[in-house]
């Protein structure tokens, strides 16, 4: 058999060639010079040549390799032919006897302007024929496959680039859940790099839990693989990063399928939703805020169509959101306010903001409600005004308070005005007409009556009225106590409020009913417990008065009563003042008369004494009589000063002493005695009780000096001097000083035990004045008496 095998049969080559002819692979039979001995149909087709054109040519020539023209020898002689893989593979096979398998090569073929690149795999197989050894060359054309592969790669690269560049994180896994790909965002969010994560189970890298329960969430990869469909992640998913920090994410997973639709992996796409969460939380809070606000918060478009309506709006206006949204805002606008809405929308359209605009709005029940409105434009990102947000605050309470304050102010103003009116007139009862008119205007009353009680009678007389005809007034001009409302009030001194008079069976209100008065309040004018009249107000359009109205009427009534009583008291006071003045004047006259007569009587006495003295022959007795005369004159002078002074009880010592000393020394100096009188008396006003003792003391001391201080003065020319001084000491005391420059008192003179009547008088009077007496005297060096006494 071996001989038979070494010796191929003759038809073997032909049979082989026939076998290869229809193989769908290009097959060449070449010799060791790379000449093609035989090319099958596929090869010829590949070379785009006929069988004749290929057979007997080197393969490069046959296939029109672009390098087959490089040299005149054709294929194998060109400068680059040494590197030809086809040629080398064939030659290598011949040289080594080892068949080569699927060596990839490429080349440019076709001697045209546009040569074609072919990529193919070359395999060789030596075949020994009896006469020669040839090489079978299989050429697998893989150009199309390679091109497709290149396209695929390019496509993949494009995808990869896209995945890298998108904002979402992307993780791809194989069907086992092992990571095959992560983009940069996924790396950043998970904290894992692709290098570290690749081929690791996705659950270790993409570790997610539920935000609230903190339970591990089932792997989306597993879910996708199980269900073979796209799955979204559950809400509230938290990704735990490699470093343990947490990120809220939002995401989906999808299967990756091959051309045939088989699942070859899973792709997870997720993103960081921290900001979105925050925004959602904020808008949630804002929505809650709007919804829970007490104020009505409404948004509308620029046409005035309501877009949103919160609970506050429902409460304030009475319409539910369901009723209001989509309607035109005009149903909230009371008649006469339509222009206001247009003006607001116009201003808002220009981007203006309107604050605290006070107006009225209609409620569902038809009532109006005072509101403070704030309007703001709603703008888009570009600042374009899309609509209006409106906040309406119910200011009913505030308005009510403001109105109350305003009314209170008006009331106080009114009361101040009435008080002023009443105080500024001589006859308060004469202005009640005007005054009550003002009060009626404020109270919105239609009638008033003012009655005054006629002195000492049981009747009242109409003093002022308003709101009834003159004839009707005549009829009720004079009323007896009782019978009517006013008559009862005047009699009892208690107010009567008659209300709902049309339905009031009280007989006393009959007259009021006939006048169409429905509500009537009559207050007594009372002062110091005495009722002097009534003041009443009536309304024809309502059956009741408020407490405030009745309070005001009561206050005004008191004012009027006080004013009338004040007037009466003033008159009485004036009268009694006048009586007092008259009585005082009479008393003053009487007192002046008494002083005058006393003075005159004292003069009569001194004259009588003078007459008596002249009839006395005893010189000593006559001198004593003169002393007596002098003392009485000193007292008479006090009375004279008193009745001449404006004040009948006080007199000025300066005036009195000056006159007294003049009178005294005048009588003593009738002779030619050389004695000077020095007066230094200041003003000191005292009562008669101090003036008389003071005058008598001065009289005694000057007389003493005149009589005893200057025994030699009559004969020699020695100047004698007597000083009289008086000055206030402090506020309460007076110092009286009488001095001379005479011979001085006898040694050992004690005023308290003095035997002379003069000094006795001085001492006793000084004691009566509660005074202190200081005597300074020395023989030949004069005498000084200083008496300090209390003014009062």
């Amino acid at each position: 058999m071996s001989g038979a095998s070494r010796k191929p049969r003759k038809n073997t080559r032909l049979e082989l060639e026939a076998m290869l002819e229809n193989v769908p692979m290009a097959v060449l039979l070449v010799d060791n010079e790379t000449n093609i001995r035989k090319a099958n149909a596929t090869a010829s087709a590949l070379a785009k040549r006929t069988r004749q054109e290929t057979t007997g040519h080197r393969h490069g020539d046959a296939f029109k390799c672009i390098h087959s023209k490089d040299a005149s020898g054709g294929c194998g002689f060109g400068p680059v032919c040494g590197g030809c893989i086809v040629r080398n593979t064939i030659l290598e096979t011949f040289r080594t006897g080892i068949n080569q398998r699927q060596v990839e090569t490429r080349g440019w073929f076709g001697h045209t302007e546009k040569p074609e690149e072919l990529i193919f795999l070359v395999s060789t197989s030596l075949i020994h024929f009896p006469d020669e050894t040839l090489c079978l060359v299989y050429m697998e054309d893989i150009t199309a496959r390679k091109l497709a592969e290149a396209h695929l790669i390019a496509k993949e690269q494009r995808w990869a680039t896209t995945l890298e560049s998108i904002g979402d994180a992307v993780i791809a896994t194989d069907t086992e859940g092992r990571i095959t790909f992560m983009n940069a965002v996924a790396e950043e969010l998970t904290g894992w790099s692709l290098g570290m994560a690749e081929a690791k189970p996705v659950t270790g890298v993409f570790n997610i839990i539920n935000e609230y329960t903190r339970a591990v969430v089932e792997s989306p990869v597993k879910k996708v693989l199980e269900k073979s469909m796209v799955v979204g992640l559950a809400n509230h998913t938290i990704l735990i990063r490699k470093d343990g920090t947490e990120i809220p994410i939002d995401d989906s997973g999808a299967p990756i399928r091959d051309h045939d639709g088989r699942i070859i992996g899973v792709v997870l796409v997720f993103r960081n939703i921290t900001e979105r969460k925050q925004a959602e939380a904020l808008s949630g809070r804002l929505a809650a805020l709007v919804e829970s606000a007490d104020d009505a918060i409404i948004s509308k478009d620029l046409n005035g169509t309501i877009q949103s309506w919160n609970a506050g709006a429902a409460k304030l206006f009475g319409y539910s959101a369901w009723e209001a949204v989509g309607r035109d805002i005009s149903f909230l606008i009371p008649p006469g306010h339509a222009d206001e809405v247009h003006e607001i929308i116009r201003r808002i359209s220009t981007g203006e903001h309107i604050d605290h605009f006070e107006s009225l709005r209609l409620r569902k029940d038809g009532s109006t409600i005072p509101v403070s409105l704030t309007f703001s434009p709603i703008k888009d990102k570009n600042g374009k005004v899309l609509g209006v947000s409106k906040i309406a605050h119910n200011i009913t309470e505030r308005k009510r308070a403001e109105d109350a304050i305003k009314r209170e102010k008006e009331k106080l103003g009114l009361l101040a005005e009435t008080a002023r009116m009443l105080l500024s007139v001589e006859m308060p009862e004469k202005i009640i007409q005007g005054l009550a008119g003002k009060v009626m205007g404020y109270l919105n009353c239609h009638a008033f009556f003012n009655y005054l009680i006629e002195d000492g009678s049981q009747r009242i007389r109409l003093n002022a009225y308003y709101g009834i005809a003159e004839a009707a007034a005549k009829e009720i001009e004079c009323l007896d106590f009782g019978i009517t409302v006013c008559g009862c009030v005047a009699r009892d001194g208690c107010r009567i409020i008659a209300e709902d008079i049309p339905n009031n069976p009280d007989k006393r209100t009959e007259m009021l009913r006939s006048m169409g008065i429905q509500a009537y309040a009559c207050h007594p004018l009372v002062y110091h417990g005495k009722t002097i009249g009534t003041l009443s107000f009536g309304a024809r359009d309502r059956a009741f008065f408020t407490q405030e109205e009745i309070g005001l009427m009561s206050t005004v009534t008191d004012q009027v009563a006080t004013a009338i009583a004040r007037k009466q008291a003033e008159d009485a006071l004036k009268e009694s003042n006048q009586k007092l003045k008259t009585a005082l004047a009479e008393k003053e006259m009487l007192l002046k008369e008494v002083y005058h007569r006393t003075k005159n009587n004292m003069h009569v006495i001194t004259n009588l004494i003078g007459l008596q003295a002249r009839s006395i022959n005893d010189k000593g007795a006559a001198a004593k009589t003169h002393e007596l005369q002098s003392r009485i004159q000193a007292m008479a002078l006090v009375h004279e000063k008193l009745y001449k002074s404006g004040d009948l009880s006080m007199l000025d010592l300066k005036d009195y002493i000056t006159d007294l000393v003049k009178a005294l020394t005048g009588s003593f100096l009738k002779g030619s005695r050389n004695i000077a009188i020095d007066l230094a008396v200041e003003n000191a006003v005292v009562s008669i009780d101090a003036a008389i003792p003071c005058g008598l003391i001065i009289n005694e001391l000057i007389s003493n000096s005149m009589k005893y201080a200057f025994p030699a003065a009559l004969t020699d020319n020695t100047a004698g001097k007597i000083s009289v001084g008086l000055r206030p000491v402090g506020n309460a005391q007076i110092e009286l000083r009488v001095a001379d420059n005479g011979i001085g008192l006898p040694e050992g003179t004690d005023l308290r035990k003095a035997s002379s009547l003069g000094l006795k008088i001085v001492y006793n009077l000084a004691m009566q004045l509660m005074g202190e007496v200081d005597i300074r005297s020395a023989p030949g060096r004069g005498t000084e008496f200083i008496i300090t006494f209390e003014k009062e």
Binding site: P693, I761, N764, L765, Q768
Partner: protein
């Protein structure tokens, strides 16, 4: 032994006049007071046998009240002197014995008799 007399009188010259008279009649003027308070003190100091008491005097106490206070402690005859003696003043004073009332200006003879009478009565009744 001279009988001692205390003069209560706010008019200095009035006091002086009385003092002169009592001196002349042989009595000793043991004190002269212008006010009730001073009268009460002098009465304690000098222990008079008789007091002349002006009804209107200076200070818070009038003559009547001063007399009442002095007599509340001991017996001493008192002669009230007044410019104007009201009706019923005796009853007002309410001192039953050892008291006399005289109008001012006083008659010297009547004063002398009254003083003597009162002093004698005191001796006879043994009151001192």
């Amino acid at each position: 032994m001279k009988n001692k007399i205390l003069i209560v009188e706010d008019e200095a010259l009035g006091a002086l006049g009385l003092s002169d008279l009592f001196d002349k009649w042989g009595y000793e003027v043991c004190g002269s007071a212008y006010s009730g308070a001073r009268a009460i003190r002098l009465d304690e100091e000098c222990g008079p046998d008789l007091i002349t008491m002006d009804v209107r005097i200076k200070g818070e106490l009038d003559g009547i009240e001063t007399a009442r206070r002095i007599r509340a402690k001991k017996f001493v005859p008192i002669i009230f002197l007044s410019g104007y003696l009201r009706e019923g003043v005796k009853e007002e004073v309410g001192i039953p014995d050892g008291v006399e009332f005289l109008n001012k200006p006083v008659n010297e003879e009547i004063l002398k008799e009254t003083v003597e009478k009162l002093l004698n009565n005191t001796k006879h009744t043994g009151q001192a």
